[in-house]
Structure formats: C-alpha cells, structure tokens
C-alpha cells in the first residue's frame, strides 16, 4: 500500500468510527458519575453558547443521524486543523532557515 493510500485508509477508518458513535454508551462518564455520586454535579454550569452541543448536529430530528453528522464534522475538522497547524509550525522554521 502506498503511503498516500495508507493515510487515506486511516482517515476513512476514523470516519467509520464516527459513524458507529450512535452505538456508544450513554451512561455518565467517570467524572460525571463521581460528581453525581458525591453530590457536586449541580455545580456544573451551562455553556454561554451552543454550536454542536452534546455531539448532536443542530436542526436534525433523528438523533443517530445528528450524532453521525457531528462525528464526521469533528473528525474532518480535527484532521484539517491539526494537519494545517503542524504544516504551519514546520514551515515557519523553513522560512527562517532559507533566509
């Protein structure tokens, strides 16, 4: 498998993971459960704004579809932002070095 194809397969695999996210457990996570049990969950504040709150794409009635869309959005966004950031961090050095 060529290197380029390997990266593509890896990214598709991440999107597949995001696609099965509606199957995830909806139980509270470790910190939430401890906060409930030990009586401090009420301290949690609301966010001043909501964009894709609770990993559900807004305006989509079907919960599973909303979760999958949020998952795809986040997966592609994180790949793009981190790839771009890494390239930016590297390119600034090269810019200095060639001067």
């Amino acid at each position: 498998m060529s290197n380029k194809k390997w990266w593509l397969v890896a990214l598709v695999f991440c999107l597949v993971l995001a696609t099965i996210s509606p199957l995830a457990s909806s139980s509270p996570d470790g910190l939430e459960k401890v906060a409930e049990d030990k009586g401090f969950i009420g301290f949690a504040g609301e966010s001043p704004f909501e964009i894709v709150a609770d990993y559900a794409f807004p305006g989509i009635e079907n919960e599973a579809v909303a979760t999958i869309l949020a998952g795809w959005l986040g997966t592609l966004l994180l790949f793009t932002i981190t790839y771009g950031l890494a390239r930016l961090i590297k390119s600034r050095r090269e810019g200095v070095a060639t001067r």
Partner: protein, 212 residues
C-alpha cells in the same frame, strides 16, 4: 473526564491555565525544531482518531461509561510534546464547538489529559521499554501499561483540582476518581495496543519518527 465550568475555583482555573499556556507554547517551540515531513499527516490522523474515538463511550461497571483519552497513543508514536499539541487542539475544538468541557476549565483539561497523561505515558513507556526490551511484544506490553497509567494519573490530577477547589474532599473524590478510571484505563490500554500493533505491522517506519 472533561471538567465542565463550575467545578473549579478561580485559583485552580488560573493556575492550570497558566501551566497549560506555558506547556502549549513550549510544545510549539519544540515541534518547530523537530517536526519532519512525515509527522504532519500523522498528527492530523491522530487528532481525527482521538476525536472519533472519544465519542465512543464504552460501558464500565455500575452504570458508568468511559472513553479513551488518546494522549498515551500520541506520546508513544510521536512523543509527549506532540501529545500536548494534539490534545490541546482536540480539547479546544470539543470545548468551543461541541460544548464538551468548560471554557474556563480548558486549561485544567489540557493539563490533565494533555500534559499529565502525555508525559506520564511517555516516561512510563520508556521505563517499561528499558525493563522489557525492544521486541514488538514488549513494546505492546509497555504500551498497555503506559496507557492504563496515563488515565489513572489524569484522574488523580483531576481529583486533586476538585479537592483544591473545595468541590469535594480529597479523601472522597480521589478514591472515587482513581477507582473508576483504573477500569476505564483498561480500555485505553487495549485501544492503544491495538493501534500501535496495526501501525507496527503496516507502517513500522512511523514508529521510528523522531519523538517530539
């Protein structure tokens, strides 16, 4: 383990915020010196993987779920400062776009799941590696232990912050957090080992990249 706003007092928010800003700045400085061409797609893929994997909460005992952190995987494949960068980007996006983790608590979340988990995993992996040897199998055993421990360490850091903030007494919150995350850490260990072994068998060259 994303801390929402309201759990931490101002002093803890400021202290963890200052440490995390300093940590991220240093991580960028080090990455600027060491980042190679092959690191770039790897960093993008790992961030995408961690985001997707964190959506997949798996059940653990007693009506509780857990999800991977991912810092250990990055620390093993790319090094601890790369883990700080990637975890910061993931946590920043989760906080700003997905309202997971508080805005003010972002510094604490980067500290726990980026710095503590990343450096904890990195050094435990290296120590275990030097004890167990350099075979593929010992790499996987070391990876499992490092990943498991990274979750435990992050949960202990989180518990200490909650106690310092006066949210819950240390003797209450520490055993509760450490106990449940000792279980969640098993999932982290299994996922980390699975990904490392796939990379080992398909692109072993990626395990030889310079550590950042």
């Amino acid at each position: 383990m994303h801390i929402p706003d309201g759990f931490l007092n101002t002093a803890t928010v400021v202290a963890t915020g200052v440490v995390s800003v300093g940590g991220v700045a240093n991580a960028v400085r080090i990455a600027n010196k060491k980042l190679g061409e092959k690191h770039i797609p790897m960093m993008g893929i790992l961030a995408a993987f961690i985001f997707a994997a964190q959506m997949l909460n798996f059940p653990v005992a007693g009506g509780t779920s857990g999800h991977v952190i991912g810092a250990a995987l990055v620390a093993i494949l790319l090094g601890p400062w790369a883990a700080v960068i990637i975890m910061s980007v993931v946590l920043f996006a989760q906080c700003l776009i997905f309202q997971d983790g508080g805005l003010l608590a972002l510094g604490a979340n980067i500290f726990n799941m980026g710095i503590v988990a990343g450096f904890g995993a990195y050094y435990i992996y290296r120590i275990m590696g030097s004890l167990l040897g350099d075979s593929s199998r010992s790499k996987l055993v070391a990876g499992f232990i490092a990943a498991w421990a990274s979750v435990l360490l992050a949960s202990i850091a989180c518990a200490i912050e909650l106690a310092i903030s006066g949210t819950s007494p240390l003797l209450v919150v520490l055993p509760a957090m450490a106990g449940v995350h000792a279980l969640i850490g098993i999932g982290e260990g299994l996922v980390t080992v699975a990904v490392v072994s796939v990379v080992l068998s398909t692109r072993a060259d990626l395990l030889k990249l310079n550590r950042i």
